[in-house]
């Protein structure tokens, strides 16, 4: 019997890999962490997992295409932060992808603001 099940698994595995690579169980856990959600059917779970994969591809590709690293062949955090800020569909990411600014620059703007206040 054990050889039986092993053979079945082998034949099913390549088909599964083709459609989905993220673990469905983990996606279910994230979905269930939302307090309003009571239950999710199998198709909805599959679609959300697949959509997440498409989203990762889309976010990576559009950040790279609109980013600064095209010449150097690299994708950096700031490319992602720009995508979140500039692309409408990625706007919901601005909270978790804040634009980084240098401490020095921040101090300068702070000084400027104080100067302006003093002038007034």
């Amino acid at each position: 019997m054990s050889t039986h099940t092993a053979a079945d698994k082998d034949s099913a595995a390549p088909a599964n890999n083709k459609t989905i690579s993220l673990p469905i169980s983990r996606v279910r856990l994230i979905m269930k962490s939302s307090p309003d959600v009571s239950s999710i059917n199998q198709d909805a779970l599959f679609l959300t997992t697949k959509a997440t994969e498409l989203f990762v591809q889309y976010l990576a590709v559009s950040s790279f295409n609109n980013g600064s690293g095209k010449e150097s062949n690299s994708l950096s955090y700031s490319d992602l932060a720009s995508a979140a800020e500039e692309t409408d569909t990625f706007h919901f990411l601005t909270d978790i992808l804040p634009k980084k600014i240098l401490a020095g620059d921040y101090l300068k703007t702070l000084e400027q603001m104080q100067d302006e206040e003093a002038d007034n």
Binding site: T19, S21, D43, K50, A51, F55, Q57, A60, S72, I96
Partner: protein
């Protein structure tokens, strides 16, 4: 429920592979960028779930279904995902149907055996349950190699 906060992360090795496959060959993705995309993916799941749940609630249903998820994609302005999602669902359903037929066959075989040997078939059921689990340990090992 999620017991540790890292349970709400998606496996880094898989996320990295999806990013690499999507970008042109040889693009270097910084560690920070990979982490950011992974977090963005988790937020995407939550956002999609919340949108889909709104549609289910409007229809007075407690269970999220495929139509709710597709409606959520439209609302989130990810219409570009609709076609690939429908196609993938089609393939997935065919696969599930095939699986069902196989397990149906097994069940019948088991019933025959059941008549002769009860204890043995119980063991077999346990084995099958274990086969369905995701091989997450493998993913983690892969990650170590890449870094």
């Amino acid at each position: 429920m999620a017991e540790r906060p890292e349970d709400l992360n998606l496996p880094n090795a898989v996320i990295t592979r999806i990013i690499k496959e999507a970008l042109p060959d040889g693009v270097n993705v910084s560690k920070e960028a990979r982490r950011a995309i992974s977090q963005a993916a988790s937020v995407f799941v939550l956002y999609a779930t919340s949108c889909a749940n709104n549609f289910a609630m409007k229809a007075k249903r407690k269970t999220l279904n495929a139509a709710d998820v597709l409606a959520a994609m439209e609302e989130m302005e990810f219409e570009r995902f609709l076609e690939p999602l429908r196609e993938a669902l089609e393939v997935y359903k065919k696969g599930q149907k095939g699986k069902k037929e196989v397990s149906e066959q097994k069940r019948k075989e088991k019933e025959k055996k059941n008549e002769t040997d009860n204890d043995k078939s119980r063991e077999e059921e346990d084995d099958e349950e274990r086969m369905d689990e995701e091989p997450e340990a493998e993913n983690d090992a892969e990650e170590d190699v890449e870094n």
